[in-house]
Structure formats: C-alpha cells, structure tokens
C-alpha cells in the first residue's frame, strides 16, 4: 500500500511539474502555434492524472477528444487566421494586467468553491473505475444531459457554418 502511494505521489509530482511548466509556456509564448502545442502537453498531463485517479475511461476520452480533436480544431483555427513562423509581437497585448487580474480572480473563485464543497471529503481509491460505471451513470442518471449534449454540439456546428458562409 505505502509503496504504491509513494509511487503515485512521485508520478503525480512529475506530471504536475510538466503540466505547470507547459501551462505557463502556453500563455507566455509569443507564437500561437507553440501555444497550442504546449496545450497538448497540458492535456496529456491531465489524462495521466486521471489514470492516477483510476478513471481510465475519462483519461482515454481526454486523449481522444482533447488531443485528437480539439487541438486539431485549435490548430486549424490558428492556421486560418495567423500562424506565421517565429514570434508574433502583437500577441503580447497591452491588456496583460487585466488578463492576469481576471485569471487570478477566476482561480480564486474556482479554488474557493472547490475547497468549500470538498475540503472535508476524503477520496479513497482502492479500485479503478471501470468504464461500465461511467456508462451506466450516463444512461440512467444523466440521460437528459446526454441528449442535451447532442443539441449543444448541433448548435456549435450550425454556428460555425453560418459564420463560415459569408455569402
């Protein structure tokens, strides 16, 4: 038990460092494509964290949807607008202070909310969560949310098509 816990903590530390560095590089780099690529590392790190928490289905989904699809969407979006080589001076805008303020506030609010609701909850993970558990929850408890997702996706697609069609 303790050996496993030590190993889990070591891996958590490693992954956390990688994620932190990539996240900071993601927002400080002056090249938009580089930012998207640093984001890949952040997503990969969070997938690894999900593995450490024993929820493989969420981890694999993270890889499939976020790394395999969302990043591609980001990169296409970047290539569509501005993806020149080298640093782009206009990326570092003068609104930095404001952005930092918003980021700190957001982090504070979210952290506080999480701390407030879960600070006395102890998460005991003895068993990995099989995909069946997630799936059963989706198809019983969250069935309405599941159907709502399809409508949300449809709306996003129609929005994109309307914007893409200028004629």
């Amino acid at each position: 038990m303790s050996d496993l816990l030590v190993a889990q903590n070591v891996f958590f530390g490693l992954i956390a460092v990688v994620m932190l560095v990539s996240a900071v590089r993601c927002v400080t780099t002056r090249n938009v494509v580089h930012a998207a690529l640093w984001l890949v590392l952040v997503f990969a790190g969070s997938a690894a964290l999900f593995i450490l928490l024993g929820s493989e289905f969420v981890a694999v989904t993270q890889v499939l949807v976020y790394i395999g699809a969302i990043i591609v969407l980001f990169l296409f979006g970047v290539m569509l607008t501005r993806a020149s080589m080298g640093d782009d001076a206009s990326v570092a805008s003068e609104k930095r202070a404001m952005a930092a303020l918003v980021a700190v506030l957001l982090a504070a609010v979210m952290g506080l909310a999480l701390f407030d609701s879960f600070s006395d909850t102890r998460l005991v993970i003895d068993e990995p969560q099989r995909f069946g558990v997630v799936s059963d929850a989706i198809f019983s408890q969250y069935i309405v949310a599941f159907e709502a997702v399809s409508v949300l996706l449809l709306a996003a697609l129609i929005g994109a098509i309307v914007i893409a069609r200028k004629d």
């Binding site: 493989e56 694999v60 395999g68 990043i71 990169l75 080589m85 080298g86």
Partner: protein, 351 residues
C-alpha cells in the same frame, strides 16, 4: 455468446517481476513494430509491386534482395540531415517523435496469444483509436514546422483527410463491439473463437462474416488513414512533392516512412483481431498453450494477408481528387457506418 474472460499470466512469466515481464514485452513490442514493418516493406513494397509491374525488384542484397531494407537503412543513416533555416527547429524535429510514439502506443493493445499480450485492458480498441489520433498532431507539426508552402498545404490536407476518415474507422469498429459486448481485444478474439454460426462452431464466428460492411468500411478508411494511393493527396508527389515530408531529408524522412509502414502493420493486426479472429485458427482449442507460440505467427500471417489488400489497392487504383475524398468520407462512409451500427444494435436488442 459472451466469452469467458480468464486471463492468467503466461505460465513462464507468472514468476517474473513486473520489470522483467515488461522488458520482455518491450523487446517483443519493438520486434512487433519493426520486423512486421520490414516484412511488409520487403514483401509488398519491394516484391509485390515489382511483380505487378513485370520486373524483379531488388535482387542483389541477400537472397532475392531480402536484405535490401538493411542496405537502405544504412544509406539513410549516412545521409546529411538538412533542416531548413527558416523552419521552426523544435517543432520540425519533434514531429517524427510524435508520429512514431503514436505507433508504438498503438501496438500495446494487441493480443498475440492467450497469454501473450502487452496489456489487458477493458478499453482495448477505444484506447487504440485514441492514441492513433495523436499522430495527426505530429503531421500538422511537420507541415507547419517546415515553413514551406508545399509542406503546409500537404500537412493541412493530410490532417483534413485523417480526421475525416478516423470517424468511419471508429464507427466501423462499433458493430464488432456490439456483437462481442466488450472492447477488450483479447475478449473479442475469444468471442470469435468460441462463437458459432447458426449452431455450427466449426470455424468459430469471425466477425468478417456478420460485420462484412464494417470490415469493408474499416479497410477503406484505413487506406485513407495510411495515406496510401488512391488516398495519397497529402503526399501527391506530382503536385505537392511529398506534402508534409517535403523538407525532411535523410533519416528524418525514413522515420516518417517507418511510421507509415509500422502503422500499416499495426492497423492490419487490429483489423485481423477485430474481423478475422486474431491469433486464433480453427481446429485448435482457444485455451491451448500452443497458441502462445503459434499465435503470433498466425497473427503475422493474417497481417500480411490484410496488408496485401492495402497494397493491392495502392498499386491498382489512380489517385482520387481532393473533393471526391471528402465526399466519400462524409456522404457515404459515415452514414453507412452509422446505419451498420443501427442495424447491428437493433438485431442485438431484439434477438
């Protein structure tokens, strides 16, 4: 017809520590990727195409030119590595890593015998599809990082193609998952081995029979995923030189090449597992220890057979146009595979 999933560690491996088992698996995985890719290149790319074009192909290096590939590798190792000075060096150099790592992660789900597997995972095929989608980023990195117009257009085309055909690839698998009631590739093999066709269990129930549409969609989508002719617009050499690989020279070019053929091998193996019964051949008991030895060979045999299909297409058909490519994926393959899922699900539920 649910397979009884009883996966015990390999009798010999059972006593070994994790790191020892993993070392053996790592060596086996390396062999599985490289030897199979090498075999495919020699048998299909060197010899099959030569015979199709009424020539002999490589004959000098080794018996019947079988060592030609080593000679080629030696040549590529010595070639100068030219990185364009305008290129984004880091992105340019990392791209081959991303593509190859994605291939190596793909091989991990494959079972090659009742006890000869790399990992036994409930998510099996889903995990494989997820890691295979990572290679898209490698290709986009190569296309953008080269800072060349050909590369960028090739990279964008390749990405557009890969994402368009990843969907039929994903959805074609779902029919098999519905029938087998599991995503674990080992269990899928066992389900096929222990299945029966209308009460006759002579050859088990390879899913190619009941999921033929799924198999056909899978192979077509695979052809496009591997950017093989007739789907080779991203590397169309007459318009785009070699697409996203244009600026890559020497070894780095070879790495993309290895990635392409290794992926062809691994995906053929996945198709063999899903539709042809994997390491199982009829006539023997699926639990037999013998399969730990002949299973890998059977699987390689099926891989060669399936990749023969891929290369046969490659050398027979002319290239599609870019618009036909997207049309085929979105207007035919995806609706067809959804219909396949629907019919399979209805039959499963009502039967």
């Amino acid at each position: 017809m649910t397979a009884v999933l009883e996966i015990a560690p390999f009798a010999i491996l059972a006593d070994l520590a994790y790191w020892q088992v993993t070392s053996i698996r790592a060596i086996a995985g390396l062999a599985a990727v490289l030897l199979v890719a090498g075999t495919l290149v020699y048998v299909h790319l060197f010899k099959l195409v030569s015979f199709m074009q009424s020539r002999l192909g490589p004959m000098e290096a080794g018996p019947y030119g079988s060592l030609q590939l080593l000679a080629e590798t030696g040549k590529f190792l010595q070639k100068e590595d030219i990185i364009p000075r305008r290129a984004d060096r880091f992105v340019f150099c990392t791209a081959p890593f991303v593509v190859l790592v994605s291939t190596f992660l793909l091989v991990v789900v494959l079972p090659a015998g009742p006890d000869a597997w790399f990992i036994s995972n409930d998510l099996g095929i889903y995990l494989a599809m997820a890691v295979s989608s990572v290679s898209v980023i490698g290709i986009l990195m190569a296309g953008w990082g080269s800072a060349s117009k050909y590369s960028l257009i090739g990279g964008l085309r390749a990405t557009g193609q890969l994402i368009a055909y990843e969907l039929p690839l994903l959805l074609a698998v779902v029919g098999v998952v519905i029938q087998a009631e599991t995503m674990n590739l080992q269990s899928i093999v066992l389900t096929q081995a222990e299945g029966e066709i209308f009460g006759w269990s002579g050859i088990g129930n390879p899913f190619i029979l009941t999921q033929f549409l799924g198999f056909a969609i899978f192979m077509i989508a695979l052809q496009a995923e591997l950017t093989q002719t007739p789907f080779d617009m991203p590397v169309a050499e007459s318009e785009l030189v070699t697409g996203y690989m244009t600026e890559y020279s020497g070894l780095r070019f070879l790495l993309f090449f290895i990635g392409e053929f290794a992926t062809a091998g691994v995906f053929s193996a996945i198709a063999a597992v899903l539709f042809l019964g994997g390491w199982y051949i009829p006539g023997l008991d699926a639990g037999s220890e013998l399969f730990n030895v002949i299973g890998p060979l059977v699987l390689v045999g099926k891989v060669v057979l399936l990749s023969l299909l891929i290369f046969w297409f490659r050398f027979t058909f002319p290239r599609f146009r870019e618009d036909q490519l997207q049309k085929l994926a979105w207007k035919y393959l995806i609706p067809l595979s959804l219909a396949n899922i629907f019919v399979t699900a209805v039959l499963k539920v009502l039967w």
